[in-house]
């Protein structure tokens, strides 16, 4: 019985080698997360923050994936749209007293407008110049939020009411205080129904995870986020499967050929940038709910880099991969932020340490190994390893099957088409940029 299982698993691994890498990453991460869960007194707090971070960043990452994975535009200014979504929705609602729906819609419109405006001068540039320009765009938005004290700062809560950079998120504060939402799930009748069902089935997940300690607003928020994430996923997968998505992939592979068949590449690029800015603005509106108050320095370029972790580890160009990447990295980041885990990782290696003390004394080193920096070192290393050894990510983009069209051709036409493809490939951007590396291998 057991042998059958093993052989089935090994054949599965042979078919999908990325499964093994996935497991090698997922098992320690999940174990670390479970360990973090067991050390907590109220487990549902961590569960809520994990789930909300997962959903928010999934929406952000999938909008990035539409640009990088499907179109090949490495946008490093994603944080700008997070900032615009979060800031404008919170500002309009809490300072200018606009109704929340209008505030959100304005935020989305402004962030897609910014995406459009930023795309006009940049999408024609080569990939690295595009990256520089988008980083600069993201920093520019941050400067504006930092410096525009007349319009974009909020009056402080304390009496003199001088404008401060810190925006208190009234939408979240109100949501946590309105009557049905401020109750714990354990006080609701429906929870007891669920619990009795659970008791009937003799599983104890709800009790084990302290689900009754969750607030109603948390559950509501998660439900709304889940629906938004699902809708975004569906929308983007729809785009990918449509002829529009096929054109995008063709542009990513070889924009010159696409131009030669009469497609306006520039139009496709700005359209996708704008759509992606819209979705990322939505993620920004959602992201605001993870703060009671936030300020401009919460939107640093690191946020964009974290999105790249999700997309590249998970797999470019498909929603499933992005989800897997987001889930893995979010679990890791959340587990690393739990206090008990931090205490275990924290280490001071200095002259007073027993092992290399005198050596470090001469070198004048005091090394503080702390989880906050360590997690970025680990994630960065994993990212580079993926880029080198598994560029497709954990779940690679499904290859389009051209065989069914090519089989319709006559052998002569088939040979002509193969010839054209190979001739074209030698001229693609990759080859032009990294020419001559084969010769190095030879020599």
């Amino acid at each position: 019985m057991k042998r059958v299982d093993v052989s089935r698993f090994s054949s599965l691994v042979r078919k999908h080698p990325e499964l093994l890498i996935g497991l090698a990453l997922a098992i320690p991460v999940v174990l670390l997360y479970l360990y973090a869960l067991t050390t907590l007194e109220v487990k549902s707090k961590l569960l809520f923050s994990t789930a909300s971070a997962l959903l928010v960043f999934f929406v952000g990452a999938i909008s990035l994936d539409l640009e990088v994975g499907s179109l090949g535009l490495p946008n490093f200014g994603k944080v700008a749209f997070f900032a615009l979504g979060a800031y404008i929705s919170a500002l309009l609602y809490s300072v200018y007293d606009v109704s929340y729906l209008v505030a959100v819609i304005t935020a989305l419109i402004i962030s897609s407008l910014f995406g459009y405006v930023l795309s006009i001068p940049t999408v024609r540039l080569r990939a690295d110049y595009f990256a520089i320009m988008t980083i600069a765009g993201g920093e520019f938005i941050r400067f504006v939020f930092q410096n525009e004290k007349r319009w974009l700062w909020a009056p402080s809560i304390l009496p003199p009411h001088t404008p401060t950079q810190i925006i208190s998120n009234r939408a979240k504060i109100e949501l946590t205080n309105i009557s049905p939402f401020n109750m714990r799930l354990g006080d609701m009748d429906i929870y007891h129904v669920l619990e009795s069902i659970e008791n009937l089935l003799r599983i104890r997940i709800f009790t084990a995870l302290d689900i009754d300690q969750l607030f109603v607003w948390e559950v509501t928020l998660l439900t709304v986020f889940f629906l938004i994430a699902l809708a975004t996923y569906w929308f983007i997968e729809r785009i990918r499967r449509s002829p529009y998505g096929r054109t995008l992939r063709a542009i990513r592979e070889d924009d010159i050929t696409v131009t030669s068949v009469g497609k306006d590449v520039f139009r496709f690029r700005w359209q996708v940038t704008t759509i992606s800015a819209f979705i990322c603005g939505l993620a920004g509106v959602m992201y605001a709910f993870s703060f009671n108050a936030f300020e401009a320095s919460d939107f640093r370029p690191e946020l964009t880099f974290v999105l790249y972790f999700y997309v590249i580890i998970g797999g470019l160009g498909n929603g499933k991969g992005v989800f897997v990447g987001t889930a893995l990295v979010t679990l890791f980041m959340q587990a690393a932020s739990v206090e008990a885990v931090q205490r275990n990782i924290y280490m001071h290696v200095g002259p007073d340490s027993p092992l290399f003390g005198s050596f470090l004394e001469i070198l004048q080193l005091d090394i503080f190994i702390n989880p906050f920096n360590m997690r970025y070192v680990v994630l960065g290393t994993i990212l580079i390893l993926f880029l080198i050894f598994k560029p497709g990510g954990l779940i690679p983009e499904p290859r389009t099957d051209n065989e069914k069209y090519l089989s319709l051709l006559t052998p002569y036409e088939r040979a002509r088409s193969d010839e054209a493809v190979s001739a074209r490939q030698s001229l693609t951007e990759k080859e032009r940029l990294f020419e001559g590396t084969e010769d190095e291998n030879d020599s």
């Binding site: 990088v68 590449v265 005091d366």
Partner: protein
């Protein structure tokens, strides 16, 4: 209405231009030889600062008698910074970029990889040296409070002040105030550019490097060992950046941390793109333009904020105004980048139009 202290601002801008020139030589070299923008460059700057600071700590510990600063001086620290950062430059090439190139990975992967390297190095430095360079046992007591340290051959904190006008009703106060460190930065930056320019134009090594930059295949046909040239390029580029950072460090007035380099990344790219990829003399002009544009923004925007300035005028006559904060000066590179990439993508002196390769 008295003028602000324009001469002082001009001096500050000149030193800033020197810093930009010094720190962008390496970026420009990697750009022109390897044809990709190295985002980890910012971390080389940070690493150079930390490395030279660290070597100062070591030397003050093992050479306590060296009060005359025969060995424990800025130039030794700078050489140490050169070696350490240069070695890391080669490591990045051997471990990551070389492999990526062999895989024929796209430009996107190289960019993402360089950003990831930057992230790793930044956080690694933060762990090793702490977020701020503050050792818990002060060996040189002034080191912790003040990063501009004792004993840089002549005392670098010597301030030269030339007062031209003082409390004049029209011109206000105009002075030139520069410390020895600022002068050292300007001199070093010019010397570095001239030296590198000479190496690139007139030595065999530099010509091989330029041949590699033009076409790797042709260079190989002519018998150039391009692999060695690429490694030397990384070593020199990273090393010069680390050395520049070590020389820049005593000029800083506040403590530096692991993010210091990252904040300067955009001005760096603005200098390289405005000056033209592959042109070091263009870089000088670009650095001066950017430094002066930045300082001018500070002057003009703070002038707008004075009573009776543009903000008040707008408020009175239109009833609507925005804040002209001098903090926008940091966004100047962004504006310059947009203008350059729209109007003249090859920069002031670049000969190869490297920017627009897409349809």
């Amino acid at each position: 209405m008295t003028l602000p202290n324009l001469l002082n601002h001009a001096t500050l801008a000149l030193v800033y231009a020197g810093v930009l020139i010094m720190l962008t030589i390496g970026l420009n070299m990697v750009y022109s030889v390897l044809k990709f923008s190295n985002f980890a460059h910012a971390e080389w700057v940070t690493m150079g600062m930390f490395a030279s600071w660290w070597f100062l700590q070591i030397l003050s510990y093992i050479l306590p008698w060296d009060t005359a600063h025969l060995l424990n001086n800025l130039f030794v620290h700078a050489v140490f910074g050169f070696l350490i950062v240069g070695i890391f430059g080669i490591l990045g090439e051997v471990l990551v970029f070389d492999r990526l190139r062999k895989l024929k990975a796209g430009l996107d992967s190289a960019i993402v990889a360089s950003i990831a390297i930057g992230l790793i190095v930044r956080n690694f430095l933060a762990m090793v040296f702490g977020a701020y360079p503050e050792p818990n046992r002060a060996i040189c007591p002034t080191c912790t409070s003040q990063p501009s340290l004792p004993g840089f051959l002549p005392d670098l904190n010597n301030i030269v002040t030339i007062k031209l006008v003082e409390n004049d009703p029209i011109f206000g106060t105009q002075w030139i105030r520069i410390n020895a460190s600022g002068i050292l930065i300007i001199v070093t930056s010019i010397a570095m550019v001239l030296a590198i320019d000479y190496v690139f134009r007139h030595t065999k090594f530099g010509i091989a490097m330029r041949a590699t930059a033009d076409s790797i295949e042709l260079a190989q046909v002519s018998g150039v060992d391009t692999r060695r040239i690429v490694h030397y390029t990384w070593f020199l580029a990273a090393g010069l950046t680390g050395m520049g950072a070590a020389i820049y460090r005593p000029y800083l007035t506040g403590p530096f941390n692991s993010l210091t380099g990252l904040y300067m990344l955009l001005p760096f790219f603005a200098v390289v793109i405005l000056g033209g990829v592959g042109s070091f003399r263009g870089g000088i002009i670009a650095a001066i333009i950017i430094a002066y544009a930045r300082q001018a923004t500070v002057v003009i925007f703070s002038w707008f904020q004075y009573p009776g300035g543009l903000e008040e005028i707008l408020e009175e006559h239109i009833g609507f105004t925005i804040t002209f904060s001098p903090g926008y000066a940091d966004a100047i590179p962004f504006v310059i980048l947009i203008i350059v990439l729209l109007i003249r993508p090859r920069g002031i002196a670049g000969s190869v139009e490297a920017t627009r390769e897409r349809v």
